[in-house]
């Protein structure tokens, strides 16, 4: 049976969807991802859909499900690389992917994930949260 590979990198799970999704494949991915989050204790999930030319209501729902399920398991999900035509179509279809974080590309997606799960303190805005140990 077809499966979409899930790569573990540090605290993240990375998925690149390179094939046309049919419903069962999408459901398998949902299942596999949640199991992987549970098994690895991943804190972030990044799904690259830049090679996906069609996202219909079913696939949209799966993306939403993955995001909500991982959130319950303490992991954030970012969907990256959506093609413009897909975005236009999704909105017209009536699907706004509420609750799913999105980013333009993998790089921006990783940055977003890092800030979401608080792994890096951005050196540029270091003064946002003052550590409470020194300076009276």
């Amino acid at each position: 049976m077809d499966r979409i590979p899930i790569l573990k990198m540090g605290p993240y799970l990375l998925v690149t969807i390179q094939v046309d999704l049919y419903d069962r494949l999408a459901l398998t991915l949902e299942n596999d991802l949640i199991n992987m989050v549970s098994k690895t204790g991943a804190r972030g999930v990044l799904i690259d859909i830049s090679a996906v030319s069609i996202v219909d209501s079913f696939m949209g729902r799966i993306l939403g499900n993955i995001a909500s399920m991982s959130r319950i398991m303490d992991a954030e999900t970012v969907v990256v690389g959506m093609q413009p035509a897909v975005a236009i179509t999704l909105v017209e279809l009536g699907l706004t992917l509420q609750g799913v974080y999105t980013a333009l590309d993998v790089e921006k997606g990783m940055e977003l994930l890092q800030t979401k799960i608080g792994i890096i303190e951005d050196p540029e805005d270091e003064d946002e949260e003052v550590p409470d140990d020194d300076t009276v």
């Binding site: 996202v55 219909d56 209501s57 079913f58």
Partner: protein
């Protein structure tokens, strides 16, 4: 005027991706823009899923048509399923007898230029969509 005509039998989920590819072929052949292609294929994807889910499949007529100097793709989804008791209700956003988001029919209608649905309880449902090359 019908420029080309083809039928596809849909009996299980594995037929969906080849069907979507066939629609893409036709849309590309008449020079449809990428956004319009994506809308058409997404709408087709919603309708073929309905057909599989509620009627265990059916037959799809794929045509390239020309009318008043316009060229377009017309898809006719014919099934012999249980039919839809209340078509008006089925066309409303958020209505679903299944567990879906209820965006399939109304969403598909929004995505294409022309949409027609005929259904008789106990006899089946026929949905026809047309998307013109330069639609919208």
């Amino acid at each position: 005027m019908i420029l080309s005509k083809d039928t596809m039998q849909i009996v299980h989920e594995q037929n969906v991706v080849p069907f979507r590819n066939r629609v893409k072929e036709l849309a590309t052949k008449i020079g449809m823009s990428l956004v319009n292609q994506t809308k058409l294929i997404t709408a087709a994807s919603e309708l073929v899923r309905n057909m599989l889910k509620y009627a265990n499949g059916g037959k799809i007529l794929l045509e390239i048509i020309s009318n008043n100097g316009r060229t377009g793709v017309r898809l006719t989804f014919m099934d012999e399923g249980p039919g839809i008791a209340d078509v008006q209700q089925a066309m409303r956003d958020g209505f679903s007898t299944g567990k879906s988001l209820g965006l399939g029919l109304p969403g598909a209608k929004r995505l294409v230029n022309e949409f027609d649905i005929k259904s008789k309880p106990g006899e089946g449902t026929t949905v026809t969509i047309t998307h013109w090359k330069n639609g919208r």
